[in-house]
Symmetry: C2
Subunit: 211 residues, 2 copies
């Protein structure tokens, strides 16, 4: 790992465990095995580092999701893909995704706007898919926006409890969540577990973790 990568990994670990406000510059330097001065060289301020972690993570998730659904027109298949990617990313990178999901309020206005824009773009993939499913008559929900938030939070939660040492393999986890989400959307989908092979390959490639 380069020094920059070490700083980033240290920040993800400490921000996730102790929160942004609970993490001191000295903690970061110690965890990254650098002096406080050279830490500053690699990261700028602590807030710069947080903003960089959040925008990089969100952009990667957004790009991957966009690419994954680009040629998928069926809203049911799109939803399944969106849920699977989100769940896999949260299961593989629990610390990073917890930082993204929990520390937004910490940022000052400029970087915050940038993160919010990325998050809005990402969530728009979900809301468009839900709307198209409703228009096509395959999804049924009285409050599409609330349903989107509920499903996103359900999937975010994976970062808080999933353990690779548990009884459920990643592919089963992703398929189960896709089923829960589609059912919650009132979708009368065919039973039977989808393999999600393409999604797993994309996650393995983008995040460098075998799934």
């Amino acid at each position: 790992m380069t020094s920059r990568e070490r700083v980033r990994a240290a920040a993800v670990k400490l921000f996730a465990a102790k929160g942004f406000h609970g993490t001191g510059i000295r903690d970061l330097a110690q965890e990254a095995e650098l002096s406080s001065a050279s830490l500053y060289h690699y990261m700028g301020t602590k807030e710069d580092l947080l903003a960089d972690i959040m925008t990089t993570a969100l952009r990667r998730l957004l790009d991957t999701a966009r690419h994954a659904v680009a040629e998928v027109t069926d809203p049911v298949a799109r939803m399944r893909t969106l849920v699977a990617l989100h769940v896999l990313a949260h299961a593989i990178l629990p610390a990073e995704t917890r930082v993204v999901d929990n520390e937004l309020d910490v940022l000052s206005e400029g970087p915050r706007d940038q993160v919010v824009r990325l998050r809005d773009d990402y969530e728009k993939l979900w809301s468009d898919t839900i709307e198209e499913g409703v228009a096509a008559g395959v999804f049924h929900t009285a409050h599409p926006a609330v349903t989107r938030l509920a499903l996103l939070e359900m999937c975010n939660g994976v970062a808080r409890w999933y353990s690779p040492r548990g009884p459920l393999a990643l592919d089963q986890l992703a398929a189960h969540y896709a089923e829960l989400a589609l059912r919650a959307l009132g979708c009368d989908c065919p039973a039977g577990v989808s393999e999600l092979r393409r999604e797993r390959e994309m996650v393995a490639k983008v995040w460098g973790v075998p799934v």
Copy 2:
């Protein structure tokens, strides 16, 4: 408010906003308008205060939920009640429930065990209800424990996004989440929004907030 109540309210607010590690004794004293010395008198250590907040909140939720489902034998009705109470509590007390949901790892072993026991007792209400629904053939889920965690996280998320100034009233919110949860459980439930009047009355009484 008594001094003790002021300290508690200050701690809930600051722990939720800045995390336990990010909140200093001096911040707490300032927010509660007390000296650091008298703060200590009212709260003991910062960890004692966190443990007290978590156990009190969880015990209240557990007692209310137990009471609410005590005489309800139909698993569908029980599930609807459990979801509604959880969602209402999280929407009404977002700061308190965020502290309960996020700061468990901060506690040392003794108080942590106590909190985990309460949480396990509470989650057992959910898992028993899901199991009974599966046994009765009204719920269908291949992974009941994962489904329970997914639904709890979905409902916890309300504390992160719900605003009373938004378009959805609390009773609609609770009813919508109950529908999402029952659908996710594969329940072929009658459409139409349940009024959840009893649940709203219980929440208003226990938490002192009109719903």
